[in-house]
């Protein structure tokens, strides 16, 4: 593929503009990684400014059989935006406009490069916001959220990205521009919009997105339940669910993690606790007050040492700051960490937390836990030093062992980060050959040559078999490409 690149770069410059293509090694280095652990250097990066350019780029790439990987902010944790070595990256940082805010329909239409938090800030004066709130929301893009079907703490009540997308404009690998859905909540026909969200860029490239905007709740109560042990906190999560209360968010930090975070940003977490639960309730004032009482009772019945409630917005912001800054805090105590994203049925949280503790002992690793407890979505953070190859092997084994436990108790290998490259080989533990074959036939219906986001989602041996040789497009050969 690199053979074609000089001609490719010239064509890309004609399509997107002279300043819209990078091909110098020192520039390309910035696009070889995401927030996960893999690296691979692209042959070129192009920055389209509109859908028509994306379409032309896709036509060109398909004709030349150059692998294409779309990229938002590169905050993903599963290797979803890792390019193929020598392939093409389409970066969306210049397609970052909010196209429309439709207050009456509670919809916004945005380009994929719009940053998640920017949208909420943009509509805040209207009393509206965009609900999916990944921890990286200050940086991650809505296009990336759509590709990975991202979540966040508040998806416990409001659902993940797919629950908030009603329409998309898509460029297919053929270069064709198509539309799925619109502003209506649902429409007749196949739910192609729902299918696109979370397809990790393997079906088409989303170039415009219509999302729901929610009204800000009248009342928010933020509670901090303080526990002596992880076990007590974990049992409380199950008890809250079983009591029929659905908080807006229900997050757990174990003792090690909360102390690390506290040292970094002074959120006010008690340093001697075994674990804390950060519980947020929202809605009608009266309903929130009742739920706050009920949640406090459940926590105390489950041996909480105390339950604090944020007195004002400032205290609330502080409690959340600790949660949202946790990943940054970890950077101070470890050169690297590996974040997992397994899911278990909520009643299994006590068991899985014990299992993670045992895995840490078995492999002699430090594992912190800060996660979306309310929907059973774990984020064990395994600390390591990249320079220690032997340790890294232990990290990978520990990680696989944790995910296998999730699968055994009926869970999943990913709740919100996507499969990407990182977990593709575990897919055959969740799905049969035939299940995967059905999904691959859908991918092939749009992306038959696996040119768009190759080597993502599906286990590798299967992928290799399906990659075909370079095309011999007569038109481009005439053009000397």
């Amino acid at each position: 593929m690199p053979v074609n690149l000089p001609g490719l770069v010239e064509h890309l410059r004609k399509i997107a503009g002279r300043d819209a293509v990078l091909d110098r090694p020192e520039d390309l280095m910035l696009y070889e990684y995401d927030a996960g652990i893999r690296k691979s250097t692209p042959g070129a990066v192009v920055f389209p400014q509109n859908t028509e350019q994306v379409s032309q780029i896709m036509r060109l790439a398909t004709a030349l059989n150059v692998a294409v990987v779309p990229r938002g902010a590169g905050t993903g944790l599963s290797g979803g935006s890792i390019p193929q070595e020598g392939g093409l990256v389409i970066a969306f940082s210049r397609m970052n406009r909010i196209l429309e805010v439709d207050v009456e329909n509670q919809r916004a239409t945005v380009r994929p490069g719009v940053v998640n938090l920017q949208l909420s800030e943009h509509v805040a004066h209207l009393g509206l916001y965009f609900a999916p709130d990944p921890s990286s929301q200050k940086a991650c893009t809505i296009g990336g959220n759509v590709a990975e079907n991202s979540g966040g703490p508040h998806t416990l009540l409001h659902g993940v990205t797919v629950n908030h997308v009603t329409g998309v404009e898509v460029v297919l690998p053929s270069g064709e521009i198509v539309y799925f859905g619109g502003k209506a909540a649902e429409s007749y026909g196949f739910d192609m919009t729902g299918f696109m969200v979370g397809s990790e860029g393997t079906v088409g490239i989303v170039t415009a997105i219509t999302v729901k905007l929610l009204r800000k709740p009248e009342k928010i109560a933020t509670l901090l339940g303080v526990f002596e042990s992880v076990d007590d906190a974990a049992l409380t999560v199950s008890a809250i669910t079983a009591a029929g209360i659905t908080p807006a968010a229900l997050e757990m930090l174990d003792g090690w993690t909360l102390r690390t975070v506290e040292a970094f940003c002074h959120a006010g977490y008690p340093l001697d606790a075994g674990a804390v639960l950060l519980i947020e309730l929202e809605g009608l004032r009266e309903a929130v007050e009742e739920q706050a009482v009920a949640v406090t009772e459940v926590c105390l019945a489950q041996k909480a040492r105390e339950v604090r409630r944020a007195k004002d917005e400032e205290e609330r912001a502080l409690l959340w700051k600790g949660r949202k800054m946790a990943f940054a805090a970890l950077g101070r105590v470890t050169p690297s960490y590996y974040t997992q994203d397994g899911v278990v049925p909520r009643s299994q949280i006590p068991a899985v937390m014990r299992h993670i503790g045992n895995v840490a002992k078995k492999y002699d690793l430090t594992i912190g836990n800060i996660f979306h407890a309310g929907d059973g979505n774990l984020h064990p953070l395994i600390l390591f030093d990249m320079r220690n190859a032997e340790q890294f092997e232990r990290v990978l084994s520990a990680s696989t062992e944790i995910l296998e436990f999730c699968i055994q108790c009926g869970g999943s290998i990913t709740g919100e980060h996507g499969v990407g490259m990182e977990k593709r080989d575990l897919m055959s533990r969740l799905f049969t050959e035939e299940d995967l074959d059905v999904m691959i036939s859908l991918r092939n219906a749009f992306n038959g040559r696996d040119i768009l986001n190759p080597q993502k989602i599906f286990p590798m041996p299967r992928m290799c078999r399906e990659i075909t040789g370079p095309s011999q497009n007569p038109v481009l050969m005439q053009e000397g490409m």
Binding site: Y188, P217, A287, G411, E416, A445
Partner: protein, 445 residues
Amino acid sequence: MSTATVPTRFAADFRAICGAEHVTEDPAQMQAWNILGIVPALAVTPASADEVAGILRFANEHGLSVVPAGGFTRQQVGNLPPQIDVLLFTTRLTAVEHYDVGDLTVGIGAGCTVAQLSAMVAKDGLFFAGDPAQPGRSTIGGLLATGLYGPLRHGYGGLRDYCIGVRFVTGDGRKGKGGGRVVKNVAGYDMMKLFIGSQGTLGIITSASFKLFPAPRQTRTFVAFFPSATEALQFRSQVLRSPLDPICLELVSPQAHELLVPGSPAGAGWSICVRAAGSETVLARYRTELGPAVVREMEGANEQGFWRALEDFSLLAAERHPRSLLISMTLPVRDVQPVLNEVSAVAESNHFSFAAIGRVGIAHLLISLWQAPDAEVSLVSFVNTVSGLRNRLPRDVSMAVLHCPSEARHHISAWGPMPTDLESMRAVKMALDSKDILNRGRFLF
């Protein structure tokens, strides 16, 4: 009535797959199972996903057309099938795959009825949010395939929001699955989305998993009447802008009100029905917030009966007016008012009366149109009414004709233009059912 014939050697093959007692060709029975007058050749009732796969592989190999069936509540919806070789009932697929009370999740066979599932989880204080018409007959598989929902859609979301896993057999006989049994899961393609509302044209759903909800301890319905749809919809917008968070927010037209509450005074006006769940304190807040527009409150059996009738609106309308149109529309919230204006204008010019209900907070309308008592309505009027409406609808609106007089069926397409690219939908269909054996001719292709 036309009949299809399958050579008996095929019937023997189906008997070999499902057992002789689960294959029938009885003429009277087949006649009773006609779909828009088309009589199936035989019916099979497999007991497992493997048997479904066996049947579909066989049908695929021999190019037989297959119609999936559950409780037969919505089989008359859609375009005329050219021929039905095999009617495949899911009614023996009723096993509970998992029921995790503490996790608020359940996985159940496609042939289980909505009422059975609701009753099972109600024992544990839980609640399944699907609310189709005829829950005693509607099956889980049919609910998903038709993408049906009722008034609870407002507060609990749609099937696409709370269906967390699905197992199916594709038209070409492959067993597949999407999702799983946990409430948050992004591993693999979201097959649930493709199958919900696919009208049984991609595969046959064999089981599905759902999020459940805690059953509300008490509910109350507040009803406000208005002289016009415009004023009713203004009130709707006021509720949407308020901090209130009702579980249902329904518009009921004057004619619809009369259908739902027999004997209610004519000319009561357009109503907005707000159903709230919560403690007495919470409900009191609703009363204050909704203000003096509310003239009636319902609770208990009264309230249950009202919403039950509303869920069965399409049935009630078809019973009262057999020669009628039933139209379902999904639209952006802001378009409800202009679309109702168009409905009113088109109805008037074709001498029709209409009754409308709808979840006007998310914007889904159900409209029944029938011949005005003193008007001479011909077939042409039905056709003109549908085409008149379709021509006037704003973009992003999709409209289905769920019911029309049988003689009009040849002239009225059940599905109009859709906002989603047709060729992409065709690519999906070809990927899963390349020989087009499932519900051939009835949906998009």
